[in-house]
Symmetry: C2
C-alpha cells in the first residue's frame, strides 16, 4: 500500500490530541466533583511509565510529535495523580 506521509501525520496528531483531550476532561471532572476515588492509582502510574518509554522512543527516532504528545501525557498524569492524592486525603479526613 502506497503510504501517504501527510495522512499518517494527520492521523497520529489527531489521535494524540484526542487521547490528551480525554485526560483533560477527566481532570476537569475531578476538579468539579473533588473526587477521583474510583480512578485507579496504578492506571496513572502505568500510563506515566508507558509515556516515559514512548518519550525515549520519540527521542531515539527524533520525532517531535511523539515527544510532544508524551510530554503532555506525562504532565497530565502528574496532575491527575496529584489531584487524586489530595482529594483521597480530603475524603479520608471528612470520614474520620
Amino acid at each position: 500500500m502506497e503510504v501517504d506521509g501527510t495522512l499518517l501525520t494527520i492521523l497520529g496528531i489527531t489521535a494524540g490530541v484526542l487521547i490528551l483531550t480525554g485526560w483533560v476532561e477527566q481532570i476537569y471532572k475531578g476538579y468539579k466533583t473533588k473526587r477521583l476515588n474510583d480512578v485507579s492509582k496504578f492506571l496513572m502510574i502505568f500510563i506515566a511509565a508507558g509515556s516515559i518509554l514512548w518519550l525515549i522512543y520519540g527521542i531515539v527516532v527524533s520525532d517531535v510529535f511523539i515527544i510532544g504528545t508524551n510530554l503532555a501525557g506525562l504532565t497530565l498524569m502528574i496532575i491527575v495523580s496529584t489531584m487524586k492524592k489530595r482529594y483521597d486525603n480530603l475524603s479520608k479526613i471528612k470520614q474520620s
Copy 2:
C-alpha cells in the same frame, strides 16, 4: 543517531503493554468496588476514538504491533465503559 530497530521494538511493545496493564488494573478496581463514577465517560470515548485512529495508522503502515495494541486498547475501553454504565445505573437505583 544510529537507530537500533530492536531497541525501538522493545520500547514500543513495553510501553504498549504498560499502558494496557494500567487499564486492566482500572477494570479490576472497578469490578472490586462496583464503582466507576469518578472515571470520566468522555475519557473513555476520546481514548477509544484515539485508538481507532492509531488502528487505521497501524493498518496503513502494516504495523502488527500498533494494530494489536490499539485493538486491545479499544477492547478495554469498551469493557470499562460498559462496566461504568452498569455501575452508574446501579448506584442511581440504590439512591432512588
